[in-house]
Symmetry: D2
Subunit: 334 residues, 4 copies
């Protein structure tokens, strides 16, 4: 019980992220938790036959985190991504040259509205530029889709990735990296995003009949967990992405009559268990449901993802990882 002392961190210049996070493992509170996340993620990467899910909520693309996600995908530090429609939409926007801006002025939201500028906490974006992207989705992109075909969100995102990759070299964002690395990306609530809204417009104003079939997302994702020897999960934020990945384990276990609970699990969140919601629930709670293995290595760090993601990614970047041989995901493309 008293064999592992806290080692006070000593400051010397020029430490890399990896070194600092390793040292944090020997401290306490959330610093230790952050260090543990890197340690467990490294263990996942050292597993021969593992499939790593990444659940990504929050407005990570507008916050400047899209190339970090791109990096994790390219280096195959994750094998499947589940995220929000918004993260995909804003990634598309930047892939096409759009920019988000840092709010530094004291302008009120009422004034921003008049100026046609939308706000995401301390980030600004021009409404009319978003509208142009919406129009492109409604008309140009929608032409790539077949009426009546029940698309999973993954299929639509794959086609968006194709557009981004054909028009330019991989810019290191989410869509392009995932397309090139053949990493499937799900956005189970895609209809509830500007991509979904634009496709709805296509139906309503252009007589199209585009169907986004949520059942197919579930079916495909469960198949991935079923087909994997073992799985690990990384949750950045909660929401639908976390629930969706958690559930694949429950359903796959039920379906295959074998224990398919996730064997590694780490999460970064600012939510709390106390309100009883899934987003803030502990990984331990997931064990009672068979979502997380009762013997899983787990770590939760309570901190803002905009700080955690760069730190973790840079710490992992120093690894010699070669996971190009990661298990292929057997999903046909649309």
């Amino acid at each position: 019980m008293l064999r592992r002392p806290v080692d006070p961190i000593e400051v010397n210049a020029k430490k890399t992220a990896s070194t600092i996070l390793d040292e944090m493992c020997l401290t306490a509170f959330q610093a230790r938790a952050l260090g543990e996340i890197v340690k467990i993620w490294r263990k996942m990467l050292a597993e021969k036959h593992i499939l790593i899910w990444l659940g990504l909520a929050g407005a990570m693309t507008p916050a400047g985190m899209r190339k970090i996600i791109g990096f994790l995908i390219e280096r195959r530090m994750v094998d499947v991504l589940v995220t929000t429609g918004a993260n995909i939409y804003h990634d598309l926007y930047e892939a096409f040259g759009g920019r988000h801006y840092r709010k530094t002025c004291g302008l009120k939201d009422e004034t921003l509205k008049v100026e046609g500028v939308n706000r995401i906490y301390d980030v600004l974006v021009e409404e009319n530029k978003l509208c142009k992207l919406d129009a492109w989705i409604e008309k140009d992109f929608a032409e790539k889709l077949t009426d009546g075909y029940p698309y999973s969100s993954r299929e639509i995102i794959h086609l968006l990735g194709e557009c981004v990759s054909s028009s330019k070299k991989n810019d290191g964002g989410i869509l392009a990296s995932a397309y090139q690395a053949e990493v499937p990306v799900f956005a189970p609530a895609l209809p509830d995003s500007s991509i979904g809204f634009s496709l709805m417009y296509a139906n309503r104003r252009r007589g199209r009949n585009i169907v986004v079939n949520g059942s197919k997302d579930v079916e495909e994702s469960v198949r991935i967990t079923e087909d994997s020897s073992i799985t690990g999960v990384v949750y950045v934020g909660g929401g639908v992405p976390k629930n969706f990945i958690q559930q694949t384990a429950v359903i796959a276990s039920y379906q295959t009559k074998r224990d398919r609970s996730h064997k590694y699990a780490v999460q970064v969140t600012m939510d709390r268990p106390f309100w009883g919601g899934l987003s803030g629930s502990t990984l331990e709670e997931g064990k009672s449901w068979g979502k997380i293995s009762t013997s899983a290595k787990v770590a939760t760090c309570y901190m803002d993802a905009s700080i955690a993601l760069p730190l973790i990614a840079h710490a992992l970047a120093e690894e010699k990882v070669n996971r190009k041989m990661a298990p292929p995901i057997s999903l046909e493309q649309p």
Copy 2:
């Protein structure tokens, strides 16, 4: 600036919730915010031609809040509900006689797993009973659905409400109350819930072809906001329900070339603006997007919904509200 003094609350026995919350309006911090929410909600109820959206995230049904939502629906204090698949699923479970239990023991999640008991923070539920409900959805309920028909979540929930209402009198829960009061209920991420999983099983194991078309949810919900003179919103938690309702205003405005931003907006949340996500974003931020009217009356209270909901509902219960004449929602049933 210095005309409205803080009035210290004086304690006397037998005050009702309504009185206490009124007095909180004259105090400060979150107490005042809670009082303001009731005040604004009352103003909404006094409007002649208003449609009130309720966005409900979190595990409110397992926490014992389903009859409060039922009450708000029955008394037509809300006109449309947007929630999670889980809240609907657990409401269905209780409507069929299932119970959730208060965790009072110190048992670990590993032990709960062995015992076949699932945990939601301090609530327990038997796994095999949930599995029976899953089987009913997969087989019996699915038989009510037509293969290939692109269902909105609202249509599926309507049919579930029908099942609940035919088997017994209105038990005061969400499904039964909404069915009887003809209040539409959306769960835009329905596929990512045990209802969606069971329907996916029906497809996979029983050769069915059930399609849950997310685009239709968006289309229907936008139509509701378009068809309303004015709209007000109540957000309990964030997630997809909040985003979904916020967006109806943006799309409806775009579609009709008129300002359809929400004119009243209140929210109860334990999330924070600081992480930049939609769930914790301020109602003011919504103004920059045209989601919330720049002249809207708004209030946000940072507190757990399990406490806020009973207090607010009891405070509203003392109102003489008769909104049976609330604008009919022009959505055909499946």
Copy 3:
């Protein structure tokens, strides 16, 4: 394990706070926690020989909570109060007729500064009126104090209570109620408040030598816990008040060679355990130190005190409590 079902709350008009909080005991999440706090506090009040400590941090007086604290003191629902200098100072200000104001305008802090108005979140107060009170403390009140005498904060607060009580009838605030009910009030960090600053001015500008002896606070408070058969604690917020009360148990146990850990403990806080600080630490953690009895009944509710205090106080108000016979506190007055 599955014997105690969650009972969904049913809404009917005219429920009192007590009824609602009782019903919350049968729900979940923080609602249950809030109900449990009332239940445990009632148990404390039913104990024959118990001394109840109240630790009160935060800006509760400016928020309009001073008469609630006054009520708890008058009805002897607490026997000793430990709080911040600020809560005492602002209570003194209101006892002398000063008012705090609700901020409803959008004025910026830079403008408030120019206007001579100080802000406490959404509460405003006039700087020059505070300065008058400071001058009264520095000159008039200081004249009641003896140079060189090592005052405990309790003694100073007792003398302030005397001033308030002689000048007018008990206005139901903290100082007056405590003075009349002979409930000791400590503010261990009193020097770090406007009262302390004004006394320091007296020393510096008026050649006084007023000594606020922190050691005496510790000595007196430990004696209280030592002299009590059993003790219970109520923490509203953390900070010095919580630590101070927690420590009396450790020291009294050490001193008397008997277990004097607190036998009941409830807390309301918006802090969290995750950052490792004392303010947000769990009551369970306190057990490892012998601060809280390992067999203690405990409950923690994560919510804003400005909402919790009125609810709890009104729920308790319906009790038939007669604790005038509460153990006398054997502290001599200055």
Copy 4:
């Protein structure tokens, strides 16, 4: 308004903390806030005549942060420290060779109590070793103190620093570094800590008359702000340390009839403004009181200090700072 784009962070190996934090300045949410803190602290260090206050709450010493504070003191990146008695006490404990341990076992607090092990979140410490330190303070250290002399906490901490420094070389902790760098350290609530408790024992059990005069702390600290050309503040957590430093500006302004508000202000906290307390209050709120200059450069980052401190310290470590010429603090030693 739209001139400063968000620059997505690109991952490449071997970046130092300084580079990552600089890049965060071009992102959003709390990452940008963290970057801004470093930027503002660097600006403070570049000022010729500035005095930098550090307010440090929380259990930073047990968490392994004492050498980081030591580093900031040694390199004179702070000129005065205000902290809790606990941070000093645990620093003393480690300076004398004591260790804190990482909790990795699942033992319950009831068991820890039986084993004589105290818990601070995920840190453990042996009770009997703490008791030995208490005994040393009560007897050996107290012998250095003069009965009846009204000590400020700073004077007592200075004497503790002397003990630590004479017995061994500077171990890089808080006490030793501050002693050698002649950086004053205040713990205004010192009596409410194990140091204060032990001194109280000395009075009670050994017939001593040790006086810890809180008024003197205030007097000395105000003098420091008065005597400085300009001041900057760094708050790690809130509590008494933050309030104490904030107030020096108000009092010094009042006393000197000149604006002595702090000209730079940064804070790291996990508290929130919404509850109205001083700990979580915004730096903007401080402007209305004249605590922070209306023209001050400010930044607040909402994150756990155990992560923020190492990152910030390493980012600053790459600076070429030579502040040995920092303004001497004119306080006589006891």
